[in-house]
Symmetry: C2
Subunit: 245 residues, 2 copies
């Protein structure tokens, strides 16, 4: 048996999310179905860096699996891509040590959130960016992003449904880039709680509209209460961009 790591991109639009569920199409199920075929009916379980919700996209999701097949990296990639549906693409496959773990070994993750700020909706990116046609002041948003950086208890910025005990995470960088009619928010951290990026995005939109001040971020962090922060921004603007080990 040897262990394989893959970088996977997917268009989350037509998935119920990453993780296998009782019913409905998921990324994990699609990849495991292909692996099962490659292993003559033997089930192969994959592990991912983390789940993504329905509608959330990935550019650099990372998975691993164990296999007795003796294939070269390029052959794995070709075989998987030939059998996978077109909304999932394997970008890279490499052999890794047996102690590599896609989830437990992740030390940094980067998410991007895409806002379409044009006044008109765009039919071509309606699944790929959140349309927000209201004026936004970037300077206070940048100040709020700086206040989110660092090590904090992010309870206020995680779904009340989150079950993890320890809600302390570190954000290493948080920036926003203007690209045509899009704003792209890029955040890198030690890890993210359930819905954390989407709640931070929703809160930044409140700051950008002047509904709250950047300094309010500090109070929200201290409150440790989901109701202190802003709304959860929609899933379809979010991309899991990169996972570092």
């Amino acid at each position: 048996m040897s262990r394989w790591k893959a970088i996977v991109s997917y268009d989350g639009t037509n998935f119920l999310g990453y993780q296998v569920q009782a019913s409905g199409r998921t990324v994990q199920q699609e990849i495991e179905t292909v692996l099962k075929k490659m292993h003559k009916g033997l089930a192969v379980r994959i592990a991912a860096s983390g789940r993504t919700d329905a509608g959330v996209h990935a550019i650099g999701q990372v998975i691993h699996w164990d296999s007795a097949l003796t294939l070269a990296s390029e052959a794995w990639k070709k075989a998987l891509n030939a059998m996978l549906p077109h909304d999932i693409h394997i970008e890279k496959v490499e052999r890794v040590n047996d102690d590599f773990h896609a989830r437990y070994g992740a030390v940094k993750k980067t998410y991007h959130y895409h806002l379409h700020i044009g006044s008109e909706p765009n039919v071509f990116n309606r699944h790929f960016a959140y349309h927000f046609p209201y004026p936004l002041a970037l300077a206070p948003m940048r100040e709020a992003m700086e206040r989110l950086c660092g090590t904090h208890d992010f309870t206020s910025f995680s779904s009340a449904r989150s079950t993890v005990e320890d809600k302390v995470r570190t954000i290493y960088s948080y920036e926003v880039q203007e690209r045509g009619q899009e704003l792209i928010f890029k955040v890198t951290g030690s890890g993210f709680l359930y819905n954390m990026v989407r709640i931070m995005t929703g809160t930044l939109l409140d700051v950008g509209q002047g509904r709250i001040s950047p300094a309010a971020i500090d109070e929200m962090l201290l409150a440790k209460n989901r109701e202190a922060a802003g709304k959860t921004a929609p899933a379809h603007g979010l991309y899991l961009y990169e996972v570092q080990y």
Copy 2:
């Protein structure tokens, strides 16, 4: 009764094309369904600058219709967009003279064809650009585009299924723009025969790969035979960009 003109964009992915058919979802049918609702059950027929095939997109399709409703342009636009599905968007509505005709009044049309030339497929634009990961020499392609410009009989560059008599058209400009991993071909002409842009694109790809010389374009035009030209490029890279009156 007054006549209204609208500029319409649509993502052609989930349509069987523009024109109403016996069964299946079309752009015309979706818009006429909404107009019928707005006219309390009275059927309203729309006319478009031309049809687009299944999978072909539009950024600037133009339609017109007649109505006894007394609405301002902005009210038309709002009402239509509120009821239309998200893959169709009305960009603009304006009142026009009774002699305006979306089809017969068109004097110039511009189509864009998007090629994704990166080595890897991109899950996010798989419906919006044709993936062509092979080397292309742009200089001979540009020469071929110049040879297509002007007034010619384009029989060789139209589907054998085309039923129009007169196959003489004028191409005013044909250029290619590089944008990141995309090549965008922009062609403006007096009008285009059935599949003409897609056949010209397929032929340009032959030129770009060195399979034929740019000068071969002249012979193809003279042949007046569909089999003289290259393959029909896929629908999903094509956009009806603009119609001028």
